[in-house]
Amino acid sequence: MKRDSPETVDLLAGEYVMGTLQGHARQRFEAWLRADPLLRRRVAAWEARLAHLTDGVAPRQPPARVWERIERELRTPTLDHGPAPKVSLWESTRFWRSFAMAASLVVAVLGGLLVVEGTRSRDWGSEIVLHVQEEPEALQAQQVVSRDALADALSRVHLKLTGDLGEATFLGHCVVGDRMGLHFVVSTPAGRATVIVLPGLEIPKRKAGSTGGYSVAVLPLEEGVVGVVTESPAALPVVEHMVRRSITTL
């Protein structure tokens, strides 16, 4: 990658936005992008240029129900706090207050059987993988997440970090399906893996499989589920074992 050639850099930025820059080259570019504000401006410029390719697409009025659904979703306790704050979500008491209220409401209002019956039939493995696909930046992130921060986040979903899960490189909240949960990425000897904790769900037994280029296992907890997602099928049992060994219910 010729970083000293502005033309080459600019074309790479264009190919990145277009999506034709792939594989290791794309990963290297994204690492560079995180560190270079000028490169981010080049990318934004290409987003604007390539958006002109949609100029020939005729606008279509979406049905009114779409806005109604958006309004309804924005009114839910989990999203009603408005646009994301610029402070770290994990430092935000408002987030945790909302989270706790939402979780309490779900448990108190829906309770036992209704929740169980409503969630057992869903394919949570696919939902979790879909979320991983929709948030690709989480797998690329290079956050420094301390063990204390991860332990604290887990304790808020009634879990205890008891072993070594490896270095966490991303920690955030997530909405999977209609459930709010905890999303973190760990760097393990078997490669990077995504772990998603969804409190308040109940599944009868472990489920595992592959979908969308990922391997996923969904494990039952006492009051929730843990989803483990890896890119390689061989890595899944390794990471799953680490998770089982390192996380326990409070």
């Binding site: 074309l11 999506g19 949609t54 979406p62 958006i70 646009p83």
Partner: protein, 184 residues
């Protein structure tokens, strides 16, 4: 690139949304949703999916509006890129659910005005048409399929039955022509 009034409005409305202004966010939806919905239908070829993704895009825009204000360019390209990325993800994830994508596309295309009429009526579309006219037909197709179908160089080469090297050259040349033309 000369900005249209709509783009400037979208910038202001998204910035206001970042401050928690719900009314501004509703106006942003009214302004941007038809364009985004058209793009989404063009990519996923199913209106029900396009509706779901449009909903996701605006919920995400509300949640991440502050990030836009801090670090991004114009609002409409930002929203279009979010919509495109999500649509391509959905399309890659579940394209097997569409039995006959080409048939769907034709059916959807039939609902729209004829391409020639649309191009004559819409200034932006006319400019794009003029820019793309500088490319050969295969190069134009290559660029548009990469954008709307999210295909890799090798996938494009396979579908267009040309060497990968030709695809790479066409994409790069197409992007350079687009850049030069739009900024002239």
């Amino acid at each position: 690139v000369k900005l249209t009034d709509d783009q400037e409005d979208a910038d202001h409305l998204l910035q206001a949304s970042a401050r928690g202004d719900r009314a501004a966010f509703a106006r942003l939806y009214r302004l941007a949703a038809p364009k985004l919905f058209g793009v989404l239908v063009r990519i996923v070829r199913r209106e029900d999916w396009a509706e779901e993704i449009l909903q996701e895009v605006f919920v995400s825009a509300w949640q991440h509006a502050a990030e836009y204000s801090a670090s991004r360019g114009r609002a409409m390209p930002w929203l279009i890129q979010i919509a495109r990325n999500r649509a391509l993800d959905r399309w890659r994830h579940a394209r097997h659910e569409v039995a006959d994508p080409d048939a769907d596309l034709e059916a959807i295309a039939d609902d729209a005005p004829p391409a020639e009429t649309r191009l004559a009526q819409e200034r932006d579309a006319r400019r794009l048409h003029d820019c793309l006219a500088r490319l050969g037909a295969r190069q134009r197709e290559c660029l548009q399929r990469a954008y709307f179908e999210g295909l890799s160089h090798s996938q494009l080469a396979e579908r267009l039955e040309v060497p990968v090297g030709s695809v790479k050259t066409w994409i790069r040349r197409g992007m350079l022509v687009l850049k030069e033309c739009l900024e002239s």
